[in-house]
């Protein structure tokens, strides 16, 4: 990558045909790069959908897997779907209040030095590899107590927290200062201004950020490996025991040698992809709608 800026030699007209050719070549390369990126997405999604769609049926959602199945037995992944619901649900419940409070503290109360320290901590947390989070929660909650849904959802919550806190902070900063000043000027104390004037303005943004974070952790496998992965085949809803989840089920089935297992892995991957794509699209739609509302109301 040249960084010397533009020199006079670059602009000599004699070289124009060559310069145009180089320009054309670079434009073609950029088109090529974009084509490759889009092709990668299309190929992955198409491969999953093509193999997953035929294997999709109601049994997948309603039947538990059968241990030591001989021959074609009707079996599904009901335990994984139930477990994922519980794990992601609990993680969301743990994360959202804490994430919002952190964002409120950072935008409304913290001194600049504390603010940069805490945002650094959030960025560091965001940069910790998911597999290391798994080891951490393994050491904190699993050793001595065994795997549980609580441990799994806490691991997911560690991944979600920086996402929710960061997105909430971004929308809180968008709320015009004049709104806060108007409220404070009317004699409303700061905490009521924050809770009943500022936060309601950002509700849409918080929902969007949370939905995106849910879409992100719903597909996470690594944090659950050491915390909620050694499971039976029964459908369980209680987080006191280890719960199966869709990503861990896909992970295990993908390493199996049995094509029937692969078929279920593809089907589960299809469901997971549809869920993630739908939630991300919804979040993006909410975000654009919210932004439009915020700009017209101002």
């Amino acid at each position: 990558m040249s960084t010397h800026g533009i020199t006079r030699a670059d602009l000599q007209l004699v070289h124009l045909p060559r310069r145009r050719r180089i320009n054309r070549a670079m434009e073609l390369l950029a088109w090529l790069a974009a084509t490759i990126a889009v092709a990668a997405l299309v190929v992955v999604v198409w491969s999953v959908a093509k193999r997953g769609a035929p294997a999709l049926n109601l049994d997948l959602l309603t039947r538990a897997p059968v241990a030591f199945a001989l021959g074609p037995v009707k079996q599904g992944l009901a335990n994984a779907f139930a477990g994922s619901l519980v794990l992601v649900g609990l993680a969301t419940l743990m994360t959202v209040p804490v994430g919002i409070l952190i964002a409120v503290y950072l935008t409304e109360y913290a001194r600049p030095s504390i603010r940069s320290a805490v945002s650094l901590a959030l960025d560091v947390l965001n940069g910790v590899p998911a597999i290391v989070i798994a080891i951490f929660v393994f050491g904190l909650l699993v050793v001595g107590h065994g795997q549980s849904g609580w441990a799994g959802s806490f691991a997911l919550a560690c991944l979600m927290l920086p996402l929710v806190a960061r997105s909430t902070m971004e929308v809180l900063l968008l709320v015009p200062v004049s709104l806060r000043e108007a409220s404070l000027g009317l004699g409303v104390p700061r905490w009521r201004t924050t809770l009943s004037i500022v936060l309601p303005q950002t509700l849409g943004g918080i929902v969007t950020g949370t939905v995106l974070a849910v879409a992100r952790v719903a597909g996470e496998t690594a944090p659950l490996l050491f915390t909620s992965s050694i499971v039976g085949t029964q459908v369980g809803w209680s987080p006191n025991h280890a719960l199966q989840s869709i990503p861990v089920a896909i992970y295990e089935l993908s390493e199996s040698a049995d094509p029937a297992d692969h078929a279920r892995a593809w089907a589960a991957a299809t469901v997971l992809l549809v869920f993630i794509l739908l939630t991300s699209l919804t979040a993006r739609w909410l975000a654009t709608r919210g932004r439009r509302r915020l700009s017209t109301s101002r």
Binding site: D10, I36, A37, F136
Partner: protein, 326 residues
């Protein structure tokens, strides 16, 4: 001027509310910091038996022998695997990602711009386990049957391109998978950087008679240089930390092999593969020690990226945004 009268009364009455909210919110912020400290502490604590047994030499020793009585563990081969997979993936993804970002900011017709941006972001949203599933069942066999033999025939004199893998699981497959995973991250950050290049600079360059590429080379890239470096480091950090997809496609082989088509293992994938438990305390501690090495590497990557971002932001006087969030 006289003192401000009445309204302070209500303010004073509600100061308790202020204190409460500040306390609760501050506690939440403190909790986040505590979690970070706990992570470091628990990972160090868990690896202590292995640290005592092997010390710092663990980091570069090439060995992973869980046989009782002959136990010997080291991170060397996984460190090598991590370095090779993530660096080569980054080298492949970087030009692609910058190309995509340039396409989106400089070239794309309006009707393509939004669609391609959304598609690239969708690529980032695909869970690693799904990419790994595709990698092991679809991509692996294709690479094994077509790409690897072709590369071996054409470039076999370079030790990197050895005989094709038997199973389709290889370092090469892992590199392709990682490339796909970090491409959208680097390209979406680069795209935002390029959008931040002041219009006057672009127009000035074009008015001097530069071609579009010369404008990009002379104005856009130098302007975004620091940010691109940070984006690349973040992408590298992501590749280093990825455990699941890599463990699905890399084959799980200990040792240092120069051929890209042989199996391998990375720090993250080794840990992920061992999730069903270690046989001895020392093995478990050594796995956690691998996690410690991984944590140190990815955190230093992350902090380096933050540092660059902050420096660039200060120099340009604008928020180049996106600390670690991609």
């Amino acid at each position: 001027m006289s003192a401000v009268p009445a309204p302070r009364l209500t303010a004073r009455r509600f100061r308790a509310g202020d204190a409460a909210l500040q306390l609760v919110a501050g506690a939440a912020a403190l909790a986040a910091c505590v979690v970070v400290a706990l992570i470091v502490w628990k990972v160090v604590d868990g690896s202590l038996p292995s640290i005592h047994a092997y010390g710092i030499r663990f980091v570069w020793r090439v060995a992973w022998n869980p046989v009782l009585g002959h136990e010997l563990y080291g991170a060397g081969s996984f460190l090598f695997g991590t370095a090779v997979t993530s660096l080569v993936a980054l080298l492949t993804a970087a030009p692609l990602a910058i190309g995509v970002a340039l396409f989106l900011t400089e070239l794309a017709p309006r009707f393509l711009r939004g669609a391609v941006t959304a598609l690239v972001e969708t690529l980032a949203a695909i869970p690693s386990v799904v990419i790994g599933l595709w990698g092991i069942l679809v991509l692996g066999p294709v690479l094994r049957d077509d790409v690897e033999p072709a590369l071996h025939t054409a470039l076999g004199f370079i030790p990197l391109f050895g005989p094709a893998s038997a199973s389709g699981s290889s370092v090469f497959t892992a590199i392709v998978v990682l490339t796909i995973m970090i491409l959208p991250i680097v390209s979406s950050i680069s795209r935002e950087l390029f959008l931040g290049v002041p219009r006057e600079l672009r127009e000035g360059a074009l008015a001097l008679g530069t071609t579009r590429w010369e404008m990009v080379r002379g104005v856009v890239l130098p302007y975004a240089r620091g940010g691109i470096a940070a984006a690349l480091i973040l992408g590298l950090g992501r590749a280093i930390g990825e455990a699941i997809a890599v463990s699905q496609v890399i084959g799980g082989v200990v040792g240092i092999h120069w051929s890209l088509f042989s199996g391998g293992d990375t720090l993250g994938s080794k840990i992920a593969e061992s999730y069903q438990g270690g046989t001895t305390k020392l093995q478990v501690a050594s796995l956690i020690y691998l996690g410690l090495v991984l944590l140190v590497f990815s955190l230093s990557m992350n902090l380096a990226a933050q540092w660059i971002v902050r420096r660039v932001a200060r120099r340009q006087g604008v928020g180049t945004n996106r600390g670690g969030l991609a």
